[in-house]
């Protein structure tokens, strides 16, 4: 796998805050990446720096092996439609699409037209008079039809209704299958996009907290709910990501796979096992304030004592 984007110890500091803190990443060619995290986690800042629209305080970035700043060779292969992208306002969507097509040799006009139809985009109205959702649709049309080697989507679906969002996801998969390229999709709607992603990067307060293949994350944790004592007994020796109690009932999110013997034990003791979605996993991982290490690196997992669980679980 060739790394086409390399980020090494990237830090971005503003006077009052640190937007990115020692971020290091390597993005491979041809994968769909999810860049996830809460608002303000640093996702947009990262993408802006990768496309030379913002500058690092320290550390460096290489796209296709080169510094992207003022580098036409590199920048011409990128497309970045922002969350609140500004367009020449008095132009109509078709004019914007035609202009975009000049910049991208692989522009897919048929896809653009199809998307305009599916999003029901008005074609005779100037962009400044479009609704928020229609504005997002314009951005999606451009970013998808451009077929750039690396496409960045920054929360592309704001204002789109559920049907339109699904159109976006479906066309994204379809066009990606037809014309594979690197896609970076930033989102805070994790569950909706989870199945589209091949690799997941999660930022929290400017730091990378998860950087792993989506398939590795799925099924890597599970939610065990039941009687406090039984759950505590089961959780011994396993890494607890999150614990909640309600009376005598404890719910824990445990990291690790479930073995056959686990399954048997659980079935017998009447404890329920529920799947943990990508969103729950990410939320649970971020809940620990000192969790600075990226998931997937080795590091001693915190093992939980049964006593500790029961004590905190409010045994009556």
């Amino acid at each position: 796998m060739t790394s086409i984007i390399e980020v090494k110890h990237l830090t971005k500091r503003y006077r009052t805050a640190t937007a990115l803190d020692d971020v290091s990443l390597a993005l491979d060619e041809g994968k769909i990446y999810g860049l996830l995290g809460r608002n303000g986690a640093g996702k947009t800042t990262l993408m802006s720096i990768l496309t030379a629209q913002n500058f690092a305080t320290s550390g460096h970035v290489r796209v296709f092996g080169e510094d992207p700043y003022e580098n036409a060779r590199v920048l011409g292969r990128l497309c970045f439609v922002r969350e609140n992208q500004k367009y020449p306002e008095r132009a109509t969507p078709p004019q914007a699409f035609r202009t975009a097509s000049y910049f991208y040799p692989n522009w897919n006009q048929r896809l653009a037209e199809r998307l305009v139809e599916e999003f029901q985009l008005p074609t005779d109205r100037p962009i400044q008079r479009l609704s928020r959702g229609q504005l997002s649709a314009v951005g999606i049309v451009i970013a998808l039809a451009a077929r750039a080697d690396v496409t960045f989507f920054d929360e592309p679906y704001l204002g789109l209704d559920a049907v339109a969002r699904q159109v976006f996801y479906d066309r994204l998969i379809e066009d990606y299958a037809e014309s594979p390229r690197t896609i970076v999709l930033s989102s805070h709607l994790i569950d909706e996009v989870a199945n589209l992603l091949e690799h997941v990067i999660v930022l929290d307060r400017g730091r990378v907290v998860i950087d792993a293949a989506a398939d590795d994350i799925r099924g890597s944790a599970f939610n065990v709910v039941g009687d406090a004592t039984a759950v505590a007994a089961f959780a011994v020796g396993k890494q607890v990501l999150r614990k909640q109690t309600l009376g005598n009932v404890t719910s824990v999110v445990l990291k690790g796979q479930m073995s056959e013997s686990d399954k048997v034990r659980l079935a017998r003791s009447g404890v329920e096992v529920a799947p943990v979605s990508l969103q729950q996993f990410i939320v649970s991982s971020a809940a620990q304030p000192d969790r600075g290490d990226a998931w997937g690196t080795d590091g001693p997992p915190a093992k939980v004592e049964a006593r500790q669980l029961v004590r905190n679980g409010g045994a009556r």
Binding site: I173, A194, N195, D215, R218, G219, K263, G270, P275, S277
Partner: protein, 123 residues
């Protein structure tokens, strides 16, 4: 649809296996392509490809050069046997646990099962 309890590619593989077991995907017929699976389940094509690769490794599917993936002869029988072997732990353990919780004893359980089976053969 697909859920999060286990890796997506495993679920995709299972779905394809399901359709082989229930007969909707016949042996020697062409399996759905990676892109078709991706579009249908709305998942990343690479994930779908992983699921297919798993089935190829397992011998359930084989590749015919230049054409695509086909269901291997004997795959259905092999899958049924595999599932029979896991039947007890997958279905019977939870069944027994729930029955115990509700105070349903073995004889009652057998009676219930008999009723279900005769219903199904009638229908």
């Amino acid at each position: 649809m697909v859920d999060d309890s286990k890796a997506l590619f495993l679920q995709i593989a299972e779905r394809v296996e399901d359709s082989i077991v229930d007969g909707s995907l016949a042996e020697d017929s062409q399996a759905p392509s990676t892109n078709e699976l991706a579009a249908f389940y709305r998942i990343n094509p690479a994930t779908a490809a992983k699921g297919i690769a798993l089935l190829v490794d397992k011998g359930v599917l084989h590749k015919r050069r230049g054409i695509g993936m086909f269901v291997a002869p004997g795959a259905r029988r092999a899958l049924i046997e595999e599932r029979r072997a896991a039947f007890a732990s997958t279905y019977l353990e939870p069944l027994a646990a729930e029955a115990r919780k509700l105070g349903i004893d073995v004889d009652e359980l057998i009676q219930l099962l008999k009723e279900r089976f005769s219903e199904r053969t009638k229908a």
